[in-house]
């Protein structure tokens, strides 16, 4: 059997971020001071880059200048929510709601957190509270998802259709509707809804997968194939797409290709199952940095580098002195082609602890990759001084005149 939380609680991070970014301001409170605005702009930028520690530090600086300002509290709430620190986030949102009950998005975000805890009835009540102040598609969609979790498909359908009446271009709501229809075996309606979502968001992996899978389920494997192939190509970690593509190939009579695809899906499933376990652990122990590090490690193995980086960044937020987390973040930045950010992280790490041998070794590798041979030499020499028995820096130094190593430890 499976634990009940990890699979069931909808994650509405996108909604949160969107709300935070797009809400319209109704100033029932003093505006932000110019210097505070500047700090908050930098905080938003750090948040967008998932630099949680930096985002919170900047927001704290802003709060020192304008204590308990709703905009700052709400921002911090969003950051904590994104890190799945729901209790901390809720405390901040509640403060905002107490001061400014009609603050845009505050009830919505509280509702999302309730849903993430599996408290769907409370979530619906909170979404409805948001709708009292700010009727709109987002909260109706949230209500729809919560009703679906409670096993009330009729109510869910009504809520989702209402969301789409507010915004007929809301691709995610069309996808939710497609999911609802699919579960009821109403494949033709599901297909229409999924196709609408895909037309609105043709680059969306989710939209392509859902439409492809529905085409498969409705006996249209040839039409499903290009969609699923594009998902598999773009997201080699996408286990479900591999499985569906395997089934498509089976139906098209390409038996050997189908077998290979299904075997790949099975290999991914094994790893994905571990990821789900790690996510469950994170949900249950949101203040444990090692839970996040475990999740990050598994996501990295799965090839989901951006998501792995997110997990390590939360781990780093929770344990800022852990240099291994920073080292792993640097590796992930490198894997994502963000070499400068990797170097910046390692430079910060060795500044924090000048005896961090692995940090010096990896910094040397990154310098060498950029052709900064002298900087690389200094980094490896430093590593060798700190750990004379370690073979890698000696080997790298010897090879400095030939080829630079291209993989971090």
């Amino acid at each position: 059997m499976r634990g009940p939380i990890g699979q069931a609680v909808p994650v509405c991070v996108l909604l949160l971020v969107t709300l935070g970014a797009c809400r319209e301001r109704q100033l029932a409170y003093s505006p932000l001071l110019p210097e505070v605005q500047a700090l908050m702009a930098r905080a938003e930028q750090a948040f967008a880059q998932q630099q949680f520690s930096r985002a919170i530090a900047l927001a704290d600086s802003a709060e020192a200048l304008q204590p308990e300002h709703p905009d700052i509290l709400f921002f911090k709430g969003r950051v904590y929510t994104h890190m799945r620190l729901l209790d901390e986030a809720d405390s901040l949102y509640r403060l905002v709601a107490r001061r400014v009950p009609d603050y845009p998005g505050v009830w919505h975000n509280l509702a999302n957190n309730a849903a993430r805890r599996g408290q769907f009835r409370e979530a619906i009540a909170l979404f409805q509270r948001e709708l009292e102040y700010h009727p709109g598609a987002f909260s109706w969609r949230g209500i729809g998802r919560a009703y679906a979790e409670l096993g009330r498909p009729d109510s869910a359908q009504f809520a989702l259709e209402t969301a789409l009446r507010y915004d007929s271009t809301y691709a995610e709501a069309w996808l939710d509707l497609a999911d609802l229809y699919e579960k009821e075996g109403r494949y033709e309606e599901a297909l229409q809804a999924a196709r609408r979502a895909w037309e609105l968001a043709p680059r969306s992996l989710v939209a392509r997968y859902r439409l492809g899978n529905l085409l498969l389920l409705t006996g249209q494997p040839a039409q499903a194939r290009p969609l699923l192939e594009s998902v598999v190509q773009e997201a080699p970690w996408h286990q479900a797409a591999h499985y569906s593509l395997g089934r498509v190939l089976q139906q098209l009579g390409e038996t050997e290709a189908a077998r290979r695809m299904l075997e790949r899906a099975e290999a991914l499933r094994t790893l994905q199952a571990k990821v789900e376990q790690a996510e469950l652990l994170v949900a249950n122990t949101p203040r444990d940095p090692y839970a996040y590090a475990t999740l990050g490690s598994l996501l990295r193995r799965l090839g989901q580098y951006r998501e792995a980086l997110y997990a390590y960044q939360v781990a780093h937020f929770l344990a800022p002195d852990n240099l291994e987390f920073q080292n792993n973040m640097a590796v992930l930045h490198l894997l994502l082609g963000e070499e400068d950010q990797a170097i910046a992280l390692l430079e910060a790490a060795v500044r924090r602890d000048t005896t961090f041998v692995d940090g010096w070794i990896n910094l040397g590798i990154l310098y060498a990759r950029q052709g900064r041979r002298e900087a690389a030499r200094r980094a490896w020499e430093q590593a060798l001084r700190l750990a004379p028995d370690r073979p890698e820096p000696r080997r790298y130094l010897e090879g400095l005149t030939t080829a630079a190593p291209d993989t971090l430890r």
């Binding site: 059997m1 499976r2 634990g3 009940p4 939380i5 699979q7 069931a8 805890r117 599996g118 408290q119 769907f120 009835r121 409370e122 979790e149 409670l150 096993g151 498909p153 699919e182 579960k183 009821e184 075996g185 494949y187 899978n213 389920l217 286990q239 479900a240 591999h242 499985y243 569906s244 089934r247 089976q250 189908a258 077998r259 299904l262 075997e263 899906a265 099975e266 499933r269 199952a273 376990q277 249950n284 122990t285």
Partner: protein
């Protein structure tokens, strides 16, 4: 091979047309869904079963096995034609529980008047020492009486029926104890068509009190673990040597390697090649379809066949499992009980070793999303001629309601009524009564204990009582009950296929053990005939390959069909692989 037939009547080797006692006759000339009033009555207390209570030995540490049992079943241990009841009592943790021992197995003899007598002690089962999990039953030594195979948390137990109302533990001499691991559902079947029964035993995970892990829903209090945290144990396959002993051929026959974490197993012949295949439900691992290669070996084609995962390629928490024909395509469909937020799995065979997912289309999927299904079986509740689906539900986490809205610990069952085309509606809320009563169900079995032609239900709760629900449906259809007597095939006809022909309609079932969860159901087949008062023919495809036609038969009776006494049909050509 020693073969003693069941009682003197059977020695006559006649095609019996024995009329079953009519406790309640259908009163209508015709029966249709519109006029049928499905009803079940809880007769547990009146039947004398209320003394039973499953024990888990729980003492606050929430050890994993406590949440998973028990099984139950209908057997006819004394061969009198009346179904007796066997219930798994569970166990305790010596040194931790307030009791040092509880009965791990209970046996109740059917008195033939709606009541049962606890005969556990006089049957020699009163002194068993085990942490009981599941049960299956069949005549493994072909001596004419039903034996019991009892799965436990440690070594399993084979109890040979002595033919005098008592049993003897012959586990060691038969060689079917297995290692000291947690076993779950087991099934006797004739894997090789030689007339004696082989044994497949599903195993769950490696667990001991010493290796119990700390799991939690909230990281504050310990909860019951889920199997992801443990290593799975592959199954056993014991081939019957025909002399009362078995040989472990798990690997040789192709059953291992396997992921383990098995909770359910059912027999079917999905490709109609005459060889029994096995479908296996695994918890958080892909379900399996073991195709019988006809040469003593099996190949797991679950993944390639499309029955191993849900429609998104996700392995679910497979519990109980069953297989049967439920629609006019005549193809086999599979049904798998899963966790809450996971649909009951429904797959239909489409040829070429492929299945399609019909969970959502069948309408079972959406209706089963909020429940956690353990026991699950097909039976014709209203005797209208198509198989309906019963699902026994109950969560494993007693604090689930605290952490997740919409999911409860105790849950009412589902009774999915088939419209004849493989589309189902859960009529349990409409039927009401016991079918709306939330319970923490695990094993579930079917059988006509009062021989009125209506199939009754036995359900057992975790850390709770057993329930005997008498089928009191009004206006149900006519029926024919079929019991097989093998002469070259197994004496109980196990692994044989029966097709009942009524006009241009036909219905098929198999004589088998296994299915559902940790349970064993009756081996006499009940075919609903709807308004028909006569069966034109009954075709039997015996496990040995012989095909015969019997009948015609009048409706509303129980017939015994003896191998070799029917009109021969073209013998099945055995497929070779």
């Amino acid at each position: 091979m020693p073969k003693r037939l069941w009682g003197s009547l059977l020695l006559l080797l006649f095609v019996g047309c024995e009329r079953a006692e009519q406790v309640q006759k259908p009163v209508e000339e015709t029966a249709s869904v519109e006029t049928v009033q499905i009803a079940f009555t809880d007769v547990t207390e009146a039947a004398g079963l209320s003394a039973f209570r499953h024990e888990t030995g729980a003492f606050g540490q929430k050890w994993f096995p406590e949440s998973m049992g028990p099984g139950c079943g209908f057997v006819d241990y004394d061969g009198d034609g009346w179904l007796d009841i066997v219930l798994v009592g569970g166990g305790v943790w010596p040194g931790h529980s307030d009791k040092d021992w509880v009965r791990p197995l209970w046996l109740f003899r059917n008195n033939g008047d709606g009541t049962f007598t606890d005969v556990t002690d006089e049957a020699g089962l009163g002194q068993l020492n085990a942490y009981g999990i599941g049960i299956t039953a069949a005549d493994y030594d072909n001596d004419g009486d039903e034996d019991l195979y009892f799965t436990t948390l440690w070594k399993n137990v084979l109890l040979r029926n002595n033919g005098d109302g008592t049993f003897t533990d012959v586990t060691d001499e038969a060689g079917v104890a297995g290692d000291s691991v947690w076993s779950s559902s087991a099934i006797f079947f004739d894997a090789d068509g030689d007339g004696d029964l082989d044994l497949f035993v599903g195993n769950y995970v490696y667990w001991t009190p010493e290796t119990d892990l700390w799991c939690s829903l909230d990281e504050k209090t310990k909860g019951y673990c889920t199997p992801e945290a443990y290593t799975g144990v592959p199954p056993y396959f014991f081939r019957n040597n025909g002399d009362g002993t078995f040989t472990d051929e798990s690997e040789k026959a192709g059953f291992v390697p396997a992921p383990g974490k098995t909770l359910g197993v059912a027999e079917t012949d999905y490709n109609r090649d005459g060889w029994p295949d096995l479908v296996v439900a695994n918890d958080t691992q892909p379900d399996q379809l073991y195709r019988n290669n006809g040469d003593g070996t099996f190949t797991d084609i679950g993944m390639l066949s499309g029955m191993a995962y849900d429609e998104n390629g996700k392995a679910r928490a497979g519990m109980g499992i069953d297989a049967g024909v439920v629609d006019t395509t005549g193809q086999i469909s599979l049904f798998v009980g899963n966790f809450s937020k996971e649909m009951i799995g429904v797959y239909r065979y489409i040829g070429n070793d492929l299945f399609i997912d019909r969970a959502a289309v069948s309408k079972i999927g959406r209706q089963s999303l909020q429940t956690l299904t353990f026991g699950l079986f097909l039976f014709d509740v209203d005797l209208d001629g198509d198989l309906d689906l019963f699902a026994a539900n109950g969560h494993v986490q007693d604090e689930i309601e605290r952490v997740q809205d919409g999911i409860t610990y105790a849950q009412p069952p589902h009774l999915f009524l088939n419209d004849g085309n493989g589309f189902f509606v859960d009529v349990a809320p409409k039927v009401g009564g016991v079918l709306t009563q939330p319970i923490v169900a695990r094993g579930a079995a079917y059988g006509d204990f009062n021989r009125d032609g209506l199939v009754d239900i036995l359900v057992i709760e975790n850390s709770g009582p057993a329930h005997l629900w008498r089928n009191d449906t009004k206006g149900a259809g006519h029926y024919l009950r079929v019991q097989l007597v093998g002469t070259k095939s197994h004496p109980q006809g196990i692994s044989s296929r029966v097709v009942v022909r009524v006009g241009n309609r036909w219905m098929e079932q198999r004589v088998r053990t296994g299915g559902s969860y940790l349970a064993v159901s009756e081996k006499t087949l009940t075919f609903g005939l709807g308004a028909a008062r006569q069966v034109d023919a009954v075709d039997v495809e015996w496990a040995t390959g012989l095909r015969e036609r019997f009948g015609p038969f009048e409706a509303d009776q129980e017939v015994r069909l003896v191998e070799g006494t029917g009109r021969p049909l073209e013998t099945l050509a055995r497929a070779s692989f």
